[in-house]
Point group: C2
Amino acid sequence: MSSAAKALTLLSHFSAARPEIGLSQMCRIAGRDKATTYRHLQALETAGFVEQNPVTKHYRLGPAVMQLAQVREATVPRKEGAKPALTALADVTGETAHVTVLSGDTLYGLCDCESPHHGIRAVIDLNTFPLHATASGLCALAFGPTELFDVAKANLKEFTKFTPANEVDLATLVDSIRATGFGRANQSYETEIQGLSAPLFDHSGHFAGAVAVACVASRFTPELEQTIKSELVIAAREITRNWGGTTPAEIEAAWARSLSHPMTLESTP
Amino acid sequence: MSSAAKALTLLSHFSAARPEIGLSQMCRIAGRDKATTYRHLQALETAGFVEQNPVTKHYRLGPAVMQLAQVREATVPRKEGAKPALTALADVTGETAHVTVLSGDTLYGLCDCESPHHGIRAVIDLNTFPLHATASGLCALAFGPTELFDVAKANLKEFTKFTPANEVDLATLVDSIRATGFGRANQSYETEIQGLSAPLFDHSGHFAGAVAVACVASRFTPELEQTIKSELVIAAREITRNWGGTTPAEIEAAWARSLSHPMTLESTP
DNA sequence: TAAGTCGGTTCATATGTCGAACCGTTGTTC
DNA sequence: GAACAACGGTTCGACATATGAACCGACTTA
């Protein structure tokens, strides 16, 4: 691992849940030496990627990331094209909605939207989405490049007792998703979270990401599932269109089948 | 310069004007070896900071920056607190408005807003703002930490014939800004751009950034100057409040003086 | 076909990185 | 208020890692 890569991974330890990190704490989290971590943070600081809270000396993300995000958004206006549909999706379903984007072999969170309808709701605080355990990830496996399956196979971490634990289970799951057009993760990443997702495509016609709803499992009913699925289709069509893509006919066909013949999908638990 | 820092500086070469950069091109821009540049771009790519345009193989900013920006905004919600005031400012003045934030010794652009009123308008596409040549930068020198002046002194690059070229000129300029409460840069960064700015403060009572209007010089009149100044005050108060700060009494007093006795500031040209 | 570009790769060299041990400061404990 | 622990930050020799000239094959141009 290059030194630059090591420095960059430090950034991934910041999250909304842990926005500020001290030097010693960062050493423990990153599992690296203090001197090394310090120098890396220094480099990140001079580049504006982190800054220090002047009173606590803890590090937090710096203003440079805001600029880069603006440039990225001007280059590939994904977020802008996803936000309105996401808001509507969260509002109608009453659950937390989010969008992920595929870059290389990694599925990144782009933005999310919590619904104000319930006090208890799923909170998305992920840097990257595991391919085998989340609805978005499974969507990527089903509709994205085939190489992704190898990546997923190599990273079959068991998050819960419902996480698909071997290649065969995963392949079965992916096949069913190809048939229905909807990604589905029943408490396979976190217990108490039911995920449903739909694939998004870019101008080149390739899988570009997924739109998903993370639903509190205890609220999940067949009726809600139907609602979420029809709303997902609406949101997915809109976002795909905003990204300059079109939904492939076979996906539309799968959606139509799923919605007209609501098969009671085998929910593992 | 650490290897990590070198890799990070590659990112700063992306901008809205130049959103995609090929390998050879990046070597030329960054002035570094091709092999090194390639490895750095690889590291950045695996971390998600850049991605490759699949057809041209050119590099562009990746999705990871979007996430980091979200975390940053959740940590220090600056952009959200500035955007509405900025929009109003651009709308009323008819010129391009922007907000900068100070981190360490560097002034970064946070967001900007172009006014649709005119076909010709200033476009802000800066990574970092030179302290001695921009209205925001001069504001930082006048109201920010005193160490900044040393940094500015050491970087007196002459962008135009109106750029303050020596320490004495700069000090005079800064003094006049302290007296009026408004930063001012008359074609000292780009010819044809008149800048006016006002300081912003955070919860700790320290200078946190500036709100500024970049005005097409040929449209600049004393009347417009008055309009911009009064609108800047409104915007600065609002943003400072949203950032959890309060405008120091001496700044308010300076603003009041400037607005009631509109002195015709010596415009260098 | 020959010369120019491009993205990407190789390998000997030496430069920048690594981590144990060490500061000085701060805040807590008794 | 002395002893202690944890913090952010620094030093230095050993050595892992970055470096860049030269090279490769693919592609464009003339």
